[in-house]
């Protein structure tokens, strides 16, 4: 019953240029990611790394350009209505900013019970379930009647968690769940997530730009840069022996070359992508080879893969 991404690639068209071929950016580039039941996979990357796009692919909110996302062995693109229902029940999201990812014209109760309403539960049961969920996320019952404006950021994220748990999912895809919260509140929400995960034996995909947080909660960590996987290792190994130069940069153990180039959009020309390392222009360890041959993701230690020529 795993959630698996197999070599998923996602291109976003930036310029149609019909009848010529369109321009596109590569948001996700041939990423493999397996989340087994009960496991936490962390995904780390900065802006432009493609981690949020990967989350949406895993949630079935967008379709891959190539490659497949499979749940329970079946690709999402081949799902019929029943399979989608089962999938939605099993895989739920927690997004970064609860103020924009929750409809601010709804009451808290409506927000939490919407998944239940979608699956046909009657009003009185929904209310009961909402109260039970509030208890689990440690929120007071009187919050049900309020609107999102009368609720603090930390509380609102707990509401988002309660909503995500409403259908008793087996997988939680968390896209930067702490980043929009105050520092003094982050630890509490993180602890809640850890508790819930342990109690319900949830599998989690935990996405963040903060390598420390990711390392703390994850079993495995995937490091992404410009849509591609740079390193994929057990969390402990990643910290004690990070192999990829980019991971070292993220950990503060190395410095990237000064960025002195235009804004983010990676060169969309497929040629460059296929023939050179995405991190090439900023890598402190770069050599000529890095621009002639793109390093493949290879195993350098048991369960530890990295995409670099020199480690």
């Amino acid at each position: 019953m795993s959630l698996v991404a197999n070599s998923v690639t996602k291109h976003f068209i930036t310029n149609s240029r019909w009848p010529l071929k369109p321009d596109y950016t590569v948001a996700v580039d041939s990423v493999d990611c397996t989340i087994s039941p009960g496991q936490t996979v962390g995904v780390v990357g900065e802006s432009g790394s493609g981690k949020s796009t990967l989350a949406r692919l895993m949630l079935g909110l967008i379709e891959p350009t190539s490659g497949t996302v499979e749940f329970d062995g079946r690709p999402l693109t081949k799902f019929g209505p029943t399979q989608w229902r089962d999938f939605r029940r099993a895989v739920q999201p927690i997004f970064q900013d609860p103020r924009s990812s929750l409809n601010w014209r709804h009451s808290i109760e409506t927000i939490i019970t919407e998944p239940l309403e979608n699956f046909g539960q009657a009003a009185p049961e929904r209310k009961k379930r909402a109260l039970a969920l509030l208890e689990q996320v440690r929120l007071p019952a009187n919050i049900l009647r309020r609107r999102t404006f009368d609720v603090s950021g930390g509380q609102l994220q707990r509401v988002a968690i309660a909503r995500a748990l409403a259908l008793d999912p087996k997988y939680l895809v968390c896209d930067e769940p702490l980043s929009a919260l105050d520092v003094s509140v982050q630890a509490g929400v993180l602890n809640l997530l850890l508790d819930l995960q342990a109690g319900r034996k949830l599998a989690m995909m935990f996405i963040s730009h903060d390598l420390e947080v990711v390392r703390h909660v994850s079993d495995r960590v995937i490091v992404m840069y410009r849509g591609a996987v740079m390193e994929d290792a057990p969390a402990v190994d990643l910290y004690t022996r990070p192999r990829h130069p980019y991971t070292q940069v993220l950990l503060g153990r190395a410095n990237p070359l000064a960025e002195d180039e235009a804004a983010a959009p990676a060169a969309s020309a497929t040629a460059t992508r296929e023939t050179s390392c995405p991190f090439g222009d900023r890598c402190p360890m770069r050599q000529d080879l890095c621009f002639r041959e793109r390093p493949a993701l290879r195993e350098v230690a048991p369960g530890h893969r990295t995409a670099c020529h020199f480690v």
């Binding site: 900065e46 802006s47 105050d182 509490g188 993180l190 602890n191 508790d195």
Partner: protein
Amino acid sequence: MAPAAANSAMCEVTDLTVAYQSGDEWLRAVRSVSFEVRRGEILAVVGETGSGKSTTATAVIRMLPANGKVVSGRVMFDGRDLVHLPSQEMRRLRGQDIAYVPQQPMSAFNPTMTVGRQVAEPLLIHRRANASDAAREASKRLKEMGIREVDRVMKAYPHQLSGGMLQRAMIATAMICQPRLLILDEPTSALDVTIQRQILALIKQVQSEYRLAVILISHDLTVVSQVADRILVMYGGRAVEIGATEAIMNRARHPYTRGLLRSTMAGEREHKAKLASLAGYPPAPHDVDSEQGCPFRPRCPRAVDQCSTMFPPFSAGGADSWACFNPEPVE
């Protein structure tokens, strides 16, 4: 208050209270905050939502929005009280003697003007320089801020540059008239981690080269501790602790500061173990205004009865002072 220092204060804020108008009422967002910044020092103002840190900064430079007002207090700069300065005088100071770098470099630039023109603008306004002199000076500054392809950046529009480069350009703009006080509002929050470190190093470099007084606003204690000399911790509109960085990071006395330090990711910890966390949430604007005692009281594990009746006076000890009736013991 911190003991008198050898070099005089560049900017001294005393008992500053700022309020915003919301509907029919005025709500205080900053209450009786006092601090000073000296020449050649970086003071970090750290706080979360509702702490009043950004309001304090914008009040110092008198750039509060239309519905904001300094209710009481003084901001002394160069022997003059900025709060009561006529607006024309204030405009002359802004950009020339006091520079402000706003949040979000992406949105702080005018998208319809080239970056070069905007970096040069303070010169055109304050020094009445001609366009080519100003442009030359702007290029010089950009180079100083670590930008290599200066010509390209000068001619580029903001959307063509990355966040890190825009922030460098922003700092160049702020520095172009060689101010004596530099205020930066969350300079690294919108940037990637790898760029953050570079920008912080740049700030430190600029500060020491020009012997600036710097006020650095941030929500991230760990980030500012890398460059700040002193740290002012704010909570719920109040200043709760102020002191040397080393003292704050290692021997903070205020329960809130300690709580913050404990709940960050610093240090080794057991995989997947729970983190020390602060219960509750930062106060809402109404509570900030109406709170009679200490705003941290609802979340404080060390609260005593006195905490609800009045805000504690500051007690000093070494390089640190805190406002607490029951501070954390010295370890």
